[in-house]
Each structure stands twice: as structure tokens, then as C-alpha cells.
Amino acid sequence: MQVIKMKGSDDTPKIILDKQNGLFEISGRSLPEDVAAFYEPILDWLDEYAETPNKKTVFEFKLEYFNTASSKLILDVLLKLEDMSDDGNEILVKWYFPDDDEDMEEAGEEYADIVEVPFEQVSYSID
């Protein structure tokens, strides 16, 4: 399957979707000019991946910032993972947040409440 690798910028997140190496990551900042267009290939990729997913998928979110328009698309990504989990696949979402960022921690908690998928909150420190 095709690998998606996108470098992050000051308004778009870094994306890694690599089935062969089992790497699934969205990190950095997300406030793209056109959120729907930005996330479309990611959602399409996940649709294709869902047909023959790996035995276990650990999907990592390590976001510094996202705007409200992105929050809706992040939910769409999580809902795709929920579908895969419902189909009996082993899915784990890891939600990283800086240990001093309560808002990012809370955002993770809220997503965990909304979607039914194994969800792990991981705090990290930035110096």
C-alpha cells in the first residue's frame, strides 16, 4: 500500500501513514486553509487500509495545536479507527499531550468519550 509522508508546517500537521512499517502518526499544528481538502487523502487512505488492516494498529496523535475546523476532521479519522475496531481489528489510539497543556489533555479525553476505541493518553514534557 502507498505510504503517505507529509512534512509538517506552521499550519499543517506532519502525517505518516505507513502500513508496511506499522507507522500511523498525525502531529504538530493543524489549521490548514482548507481542512476538508487537507484531510481528504488521509481519510481515503484509511478507507483503503480498513479493507486489509494490520493485525494491530497503533495510531499516534501528537498535536500541539488544532483549530475547531480541524477538530471535526480529527474526529472523522477517529471514527474510521472506531469502525475498524468494531470490525474486530486491534486498534490503539495514543493521544500525546505536553504535561503542562490541560486543554490538549482534555481534548483527548473528549475524543475518548465520543469514539469507542481503545484510547491511551500519554503525557510528555517539552523543555
Partner: protein, 192 residues
């Protein structure tokens, strides 16, 4: 072409404007189209200013959040003064002021009078809710809301209220029978 007296008068206006900005502690003021580039420029400018001021990280993040949502509101929802639409981006006024204890982010833009009722209802509802109520509303809107054609999630005002913990202060000033000027101020405490 303007004559010398007119030009001299406009120089006087520059000083008045400067004094007013100083008095109101405005450190960023803009009127015009709000494009994605403008949003990026203003947020990064404010970010580097705040870093110099050594504001708390949490305060910097909140100001950033509020600025982005406010700017995107204008860019997506503002109507043009004239009916001929020349650009896809809305225009309006955008200001950031910094006091000893708080930042204020203010936006002003033209909206159709037919939009006032719905907008006022939404803002009054947000202002009536406490922390838990806002959290519930945010989750409900995220679950049920659809992304609009303009790329809005209907979450901006709720997010501002949650991030600031303050009421949204707003007003509608009538321009004529079809349009009004919508002003909104969000306050972010500089204390942790």
C-alpha cells in the same frame, strides 16, 4: 487629487489614531480582507511578541486559539458592504489589546440583519452555560454538526468561551435595513 490642507489634516489624524491606540493599549489593528496568509502573519506576530513578554505558555496558547477562531469567523462569515462579491474572503476589523492583566481580541464585521437573531441566540446560549455545559455543547456539536461549505465546524464561539473561561461580549450596530456591524470581544486573562 487631495490638496495640501487635506493632506495636513490626515497627518493630524495619524497622531490622534496613535494616541487612541496607545490609550487603549492596542498593539495590533487591521481593517481589510482576512485571508489565510493574514491569519498566519497575525498569529505568528502575536506569538513572538508574547514570547518576548514572557507570558505563560498556557496564556500564549489561549490567545493563539482565540485569534485563529476570530479571524476565521470573519474570513468565513463576514458579508461585504457592497453586494458585488469580489473576493472569497470576508473582511472586517481585527484588534488585539494588551493590558496589565488581560489580552482582548476584538473583531468587527458586517453581517446581514437576517443572521442576527440566530447568532444572538447562539451567543446568549453559550454565555448562559457553565464549564460543564459548554463541554457538553462542544461534544454534541462535534458529533452532530457537519462541516459547512466554508469549512466551519460551528465550534468556534464555544471553543473561545471554553478556552477563555469568560463571557463573550458582543453587540450589533445597525447600518441600514439589511446590514449590521457585529462586534465581538474575547478576553484572555494573563494571570495563570
Amino acid at each position: 487629487m487631495a490638496n495640501i490642507e487635506d493632506k495636513m489634516e490626515s497627518l493630524g489624524f495619524v497622531y490622534e489614531f496613535y494616541v487612541k491606540m496607545k490609550k487603549n493599549k492596542i498593539n495590533l489593528a487591521y481593517e481589510g480582507e482576512i485571508t489565510h496568509q493574514i491569519t498566519k502573519a497575525f498569529t505568528s506576530l502575536t506569538e513572538s511578541n508574547m514570547a518576548k513578554e514572557e507570558d505563560y505558555n498556557s496564556v500564549q496558547k489561549k490567545v493563539f486559539h482565540v485569534m485563529v477562531e476570530c479571524l476565521q469567523n470573519i474570513s468565513k462569515h463576514a458579508e461585504n458592504r457592497h453586494s458585488v462579491v469580489t473576493s472569497k474572503d470576508g473582511r472586517g476589523i481585527f484588534m488585539v489589546s494588551k493590558g496589565e492583566t488581560e489580552y482582548n481580541v476584538t473583531t468587527g464585521n458586517i453581517i446581514g440583519n437576517d443572521k442576527i437573531l440566530g447568532l444572538k441566540k447562539m451567543l446568549d446560549n453559550i454565555n448562559s452555560l457553565d464549564k460543564m455545559g459548554l463541554k457538553k455543547l462542544y461534544k454534541q456539536q462535534m458529533r452532530e454538526g457537519r462541516l459547512s461549505d466554508k469549512g466551519g465546524a460551528g465550534l468556534g464561539f464555544i471553543d473561545i468561551a471554553r478556552k477563555t473561561g469568560e463571557k463573550l461580549i458582543f453587540s450589533f450596530l445597525t447600518i441600514n435595513e439589511s446590514k449590521s456591524f457585529f462586534v465581538l470581544t474575547s478576553t484572555i486573562s494573563r494571570l495563570k
